[in-house]
């Protein structure tokens, strides 16, 4: 009896293994069975999962990559820049005083649940957002706050007819139209919001080219083609799957076996091997970020402008770019990335010049240098792939001018907390733009209004403040650009930062992907993507 059962057991093991070998299923998409025999499913591998499917409830880039395909905004950005293009609105018009914006909406658009898109739906969405708060709808703060706040810029929203809507502002807000194009302000179906309530974040219903199918947290999100999409002939694919694969190397392995078709977060060191692979190609995402070394201007000796300038001369940015960005970044001289309007290209970058740096230190009264703490970012970001190593390079060049920097780091939450309290001498940090407007860099990161918020340097300058406030309220783009250029001059002179780089994130995908254009904001509509 005993012997027999062992034999049965052995037999089972053998047959199962034979079965498994036989079913050596082919997961690569190369011969994935679509209706036409071609590939019609795009699988994107990314580092993290979404936290919400309702774009207004989050500020996380990973979430927007998905929602931008389900929800459309009134205006869109250009394919690879932040100029304004039509979206759900086909025409827009600002009054001369910058207080009234009239938008004409696209006709014949339906939400995924079959209800009509019209001016009432737009108004409904804005009212939902403005009646919320920073925790519920964080990005709505771009409109100066919420209905209850004094700073809120929208006074009234008028529905002129079914497809015409008017925004009346309390005071001019120059980036208003650029804000409308932010992925967060995707227009959702009022009927679905009513139906799902708090659960809308798991049941998204918009007008976009793709519809929601399922979300398996930390694993994947599946979208399928919206057959009734208003733009004829789009989208070109049947399905898009976003997979969360946290480890960069593992994600690349999955790309090489064809389990995924496209990936972000390529290690700079892997770029060569991808370029050498005949089945793969790379894509560049235009830069809309900045990585910098901030100096807390309220702490000694960083309250001295000459010290800050001296340190600006003491960082070899090109060496950093070559070593840690795989050469895929340009060295920064302004807080703004060059792709934005208002960028001041006249500014002359502080050259890497240790002699000059020493002279400035001497002039500042520190001929023998000083001791400081250099804070290194603990998490990788596109603008700062390896904070620790970059800090080490900076540390060694500071050493040459007598500045002894001790590198410290904390976990990310603690780091942000301490830096925003002004506890760091000098710290590595960065920013990725939200709406492609210079205001979103200079005002947000360096104005005195944002001390305790994103102005971690505690830099406070009234002249700068006046310029920025004027630029915020002037609807004339040319005049604004001039103002921002002036602001950059001032910042160059005052040097609260050492601007380091604007990085160009690299993506990799299968060779047969066509029509994919990565957007500087970090999320793009995939309606034009197909396999050739």
């Amino acid at each position: 009896m005993k012997k027999k059962s062992w034999l049965i057991c052995l037999g089972m093991i053998l047959s199962v293994s034979a079965f498994l070998m036989g079913c050596s299923g082919n997961e690569s998409g190369k011969n994935d069975g679509g209706t036409n025999g071609g590939k019609d499913t795009l699988i994107i591998g990314r580092g993290g999962d979404s936290t919400s499917l309702d774009p207004i409830t989050t500020t996380e880039g990973e979430a927007f990559k998905v929602t931008i395909n389900m929800f459309e905004t009134l205006l869109n950005y250009g394919e690879q820049d932040t100029t304004l293009k039509e979206g759900l609105a086909v025409k827009w018009d600002a009054s001369d005083d910058g207080l009234t914006y009239t938008l004409e909406l696209r006709q014949g658009v339906k939400f995924h649940d079959g209800t009509d898109f019209n001016a009432e739906a737009v108004k409904y969405n804005f009212e939902r957002w403005m009646n919320g708060d920073e925790e519920k709808f964080p990005y709505y703060g771009m409109f100066g706050g919420y209905k209850k706040d004094e700073g809120h810029v929208i006074k009234d929203i008028k529905v002129l007819d079914d497809h015409k809507i008017q925004f009346i502002l309390k005071r001019p807000q120059a980036p208003f139209l650029k804000n409308l194009a932010m992925t967060s302000f995707g227009i959702a179906s009022p009927a679905a919001i009513e139906k799902y309530g708090e659960k809308f974040r798991e049941h998204p219903v918009g007008t976009g080219p793709y519809k929601f199918v399922e979300w398996k947290p930390n694993d994947r999100i599946v979208l399928e083609k919206n057959e009734d999409y208003w733009d004829q002939g789009k989208p070109k694919l049947q399905k898009i799957i976003f997979r969360a694969i946290p480890e960069n190397s593992a994600r690349l392995n999955a790309l090489k076996t064809g389990e995924i078709d496209l990936m972000d977060g390529v290690n700079p060191s892997d770029i060569e091997s991808i370029k050498a692979d005949a089945n793969l190609k790379t894509f560049e995402r235009p830069s809309m970020n900045v990585g910098y070394l901030g100096m807390t201007t309220t702490r000694k000796p960083f309250d001295n402008k000459l010290v800050r300038q001296a340190l600006n001369h003491a960082v070899d940015k090109q060496a950093i770019i070559d070593s840690f960005y795989g050469g895929l970044a340009e060295s920064a001289k302004n807080p703004l990335p060059p792709s934005l309007e208002g960028y001041n290209d006249q500014i002359k970058e502080y050259p890497y010049d240790l002699k000059k740096a020493k002279e400035l230190l001497k002039e500042a009264g520190f001929p023998d240098g000083f001791k400081m703490k250099l804070w290194a970012m603990p998490v990788p970001r596109p603008y700062m792939p390896d904070g620790m190593k970059i800090a080490e390079v900076i540390q060694s060049s500071f050493e040459k001018i007598g500045v002894k920097a001790e590198i410290v780091t904390y976990d990310w939450a603690t780091y942000l907390d301490k830096v925003s309290k002004g506890e760091a001498d000098a710290f590595l940090m960065g920013w990725t733009g939200d709406n492609g407007d210079p205001d979103n860099f200079i005002y947000t990161l360096l104005d005195k209004d944002n001390i305790g918020g994103n102005n971690y340097t505690y830099f406070s300058n009234d002249e700068l403040h006046d310029i920025l406030i004027e630029a915020q309220s002037d609807p004339d783009q040319k005049k604004r650009n001039k103002l921002y250029q002036d602001a950059q001059e001032l910042l160059h002179e005052e040097s609260p930062w050492i601007p380091l780089v604007h990085s160009t994130p690299i993506l990799a995908g299968s060779k047969d992907i066509e029509g994919y254009a990565p957007h500087p904001t970090g999320s793009e509509v995939l309606s034009g993507v197909e396999f050739k």
Binding site: G25, S52, E134, P217, N218, R251, N253, E259, A413, L416
Partner: protein, 323 residues
Amino acid sequence: MLIPVLIGMTLVVFSIIRFIPGNPAQVILGQRATKEAVQQLTIQLGLDQPWYVQYARYIGDLLKGDLGTSIRTGAAITQEIKPYLFATLELAFFAMLIAVFVGVNAGIISAWFKNSVFDYIAMLVALIGVSMPIFWLGLMGQWFFSIELGWLPTTGRENVRNPVEAFTYIHTLDTLLHGRFDQFAETIRHLILPGTALATIPAAIIARITRASMIEVLQSDYIRTAKAKGVHMFFVIYKHGLKNAFIPVLTVIGLQTGLLLGGAILTETIFAWPGIGRYIYDAISYRDYPVIQSGILVIAFIFVMINFIVDLLYAVIDPRIKY
């Protein structure tokens, strides 16, 4: 014993994470938040209350079977945790099958051929296994078996182009219940690499314990008698030998299974396995206190349960043990 252990656990977890600096409200609202909003959320989350009030609330909810609400996603943890938990259980169970099968047999053979070349090699491999970084092993496995040989998938639980219809969250079970043997095979193929990576360390430990225990047993008189009687070698080893040598091995298996649940985080990261380790890890970087507490509590609970079951199994294996 069970209940005081669990209460102690809640207290320890609760206090440790509150010693970590960093305000969860700041983290939730992100780099872009204003001071007022952070303050408001702190109050809303009850984080401004003294710790004992927060703790009392937490225990009160637990007794009602409510694990709390995730700060980050706003969803009920009792619901949210299920798929993650079962994904990890499936992986850990599979890994343990490999570990026990490989570990016990390697240990037996080593003991049987004590001090032979095979013994030395097996124990050397076991030593390497214990010290192997899973990260490296996982990536090498992917490179060799997926990219070079094309036998196994690199990441995930299933072929997303042909997904499993899940209702128990345990894919091997789901596919069998649906009678989808092709998908069952696919699920097993997805389990092999992460399962093996996860099994390395426990297999090595089990092998060493089995060897030590078996050597002792194989020297005893009744084994000699059995051999002299002409009992087949197979039965001498597995029936007479292993059964008596198994108690310490079983203890280790129980402990290792528990460790796998929490220790699967690296494996889950490399193989993109949507398990509870990653769930808790993400929660830690977001200071999602309720998820950290409940996640650790659930793992601790399972750990305690597994060891309870192991205790019961002692009595099955050795009838002299009674409770």
